[in-house]
């Protein structure tokens, strides 16, 4: 083989290898990003489930603890706000407020033994606990996928092409400050 042919063959081989790598890296990043989108949507599903549960809970508690108007209204208002705002930052804040309001309501319910013995209320309480867990796990799953994706676009050599194809870092879900404090009960 003449030197020209060898060089040509080497060039073609090199371009092929780079092309294959490019394809693999790009597809990998797309897959990771889609997983993040899917996980984000899943959080929405669980938050909506929580919204749907609240009217039932409010009505059940109202039957036994009508005095707690303030706490009940806080929940109703927080739910209305959470279902109406649209900007992601606002939604996160609103959902956090709803979590706090619900926490206060459940804490208050502890002082009503008749309410605590009510089967309906207990079932609803379990559903609420489950829903809070689902929201938390959905956020955890989102964080896990977002971390994988963020890592995937920052490692070498993917980092070289990530920017030019529009792969940007996704934010992680942080606990809003209010959710970290235990709910205070006001009598």
């Amino acid at each position: 083989m003449t030197p020209v042919l060898i060089i040509l063959a080497g060039l073609v081989g090199f371009v092929l290898i780079v092309g294959l790598w490019l394809m693999g890296a790009y597809n990998g990043m797309v897959t990771l990003r889609q997983a993040v989108k899917n996980a984000w949507a899943q959080i929405d599903v669980q938050l909506r489930r929580r919204h749907d549960l609240i009217p039932n809970i409010v009505n059940t508690v109202k039957g036994y603890a009508a005095h707690e108007k303030g706490t009940l209204e806080a929940v109703i208002n927080a739910r209305a706000k959470a279902t109406s705002v649209t900007l992601p930052a606002d939604r996160i804040k609103a959902e956090g407020e709803l979590s706090s309001a619900l926490g206060r309501l459940l804490a208050v319910s502890e002082s009503y033994p008749e309410l605590k013995a009510n089967q309906n209320f207990l079932a609803l309480q379990e559903e609420l606990t489950s829903t809070e867990n689902r929201v938390a796990y959905a956020r955890q799953f989102y964080n896990d996928n977002a971390t994988k994706y963020n890592t995937g676009i920052q490692v070498f050599p993917n980092v070289i092409i990530a920017g030019m194809f529009g792969f940007r870092e996704e934010p992680l879900f942080e606990a809003p400050a209010e959710a970290k404090e235990p709910p205070t009960v006001q009598f």
């Binding site: 996980a39 899943q42 669980q46 956090g96 979590s99 926490g103 459940l106 089967q119 207990l122 079932a123 379990e126 559903e127 609420l128 606990t129 489950s130 809070e132 867990n133 689902r134 929201v135 938390a136 796990y137 959905a138 956020r139 955890q140 799953f141 964080n143 996928n145 879900f173 606990a175 809003p176 959710a179 970290k180």
Partner: protein, 307 residues
């Protein structure tokens, strides 16, 4: 995030043990090909491997219905009691954490606290719990156990165990064929070589016996490693080990014999309630060691939720 290091360690061990398995099969096959199957060299071992692989594939694809029937499991009815509803909820929550499709839940009538998962891949899996588990465990303990079972599903342990069984079957089949071949050899020749021949045959018989024992031990070692891995993966899902630790401690305290303790099923259960002196022969690691490994990890700061 120390549970991730534990996961890496157990995956490494799995690879090492699988390599040892493969080596065992290869060495046994080659030795036998040279010394016993002289006329059919390099033909018998591949044929045996293919046959064992076929058996494995059949077992792998045969589904879970027969298995569930054999333990008299029925689908879980979430309206049967608040506790049943709770178990169903917990499984749904954990599937969100794991990103797995939700497997159908079954209940097995048994007073002991136990559970198992079965199925060839996440889309075709089932999870079964005992009535004892539903009655006696708290919410976070049930979460620990179910997370452990989902971990088995995600880690494809059923696939791995099927491959292991196929390997062990292949070694066993080779041994059986070799023994038949040995018996067929005429030793009654009155030549000075007959003594050596008998010795060689005895030696080979010993080697075969060792090989099949090694295969069984390796299989049990792999099973134990995957149990540790499932514990670590369960913590990855729940982000706190306390529920699982608490469930294991309850099981340790009570140690009621499981009704269905067939050796085949033993490895698939959550815990092995029979206490054995030597851990080599157990398909599950001792409960003490599982608890000790779990206790090392502190719960992470919680993602916002009520538990």
């Amino acid at each position: 995030m120390n549970f991730r290091d534990e996961q890496k360690r157990n995956v490494r061990t799995t690879w090492l043990l699988s390599g040892a398995f493969f080596l065992l099969l290869t060495v046994t096959g080659v030795l036998l090909d040279f010394f016993i199957f002289k006329g059919q060299m390099f033909l018998i071992t591949p044929a045996v491997v293919i046959f064992a692989a076929g058996q494995g594939l059949y077992a792998y694809y045969s589904g879970t219905a027969m298995l569930l029937r054999s333990v008299e499991a029925v689908p879980l009815d979430s309206s049967a009691s608040p506790k049943h509803r709770q178990v169903q909820n917990i499984l749904e929550e954990l599937c969100l954490a794991a990103g797995l499709p939700q497997p159908p839940l079954y209940v097995e009538p048994d007073a002991a606290i136990n559970a198992f998962a079965a199925g060839r891949d996440p889309e075709h899996s089932v999870v079964c719990v005992t009535t004892g588990l539903i009655d006696r465990l708290e919410r976070n303990e049930i979460a620990g156990v179910l997370a452990h079972e989902l971990a088995h599903i995600r880690n494809r342990d059923v696939l791995l165990f099927t491959i292991m069984a196929a390997f062990v079957g292949a070694v066993g089949l080779l041994a059986a064929l070799a023994f038949r071949s040995i018996r067929g050899t005429r030793v009654s020749r009155r030549s000075k070589n007959s003594g050596q021949l008998v010795l060689a045959l005895i030696l080979i018989a010993v080697v075969l016996w060792l090989a099949s024992w090694l295969g069984k031990l390796l299989r049990l070692a792999v099973s134990r490693t995957r149990e540790f891995l499932a514990d670590a993966t369960a913590v990855e899902f729940t982000r706190e080990p306390d529920g699982l630790v608490s469930a294991l401690e309850k099981i340790r305290q009570e140690a009621i014999e499981t009704e269905y303790g067939e050796a085949d099923m033993a490895h698939a259960y959550f815990a092995q309630p029979h206490f054995r002196a030597s851990s080599f022969f157990a398909s599950h690691p001792p409960l003490d060691e599982r608890i000790a490994r779990l206790r090392v990890w502190q719960p992470e700061p919680p993602t916002p939720a009520a538990r």
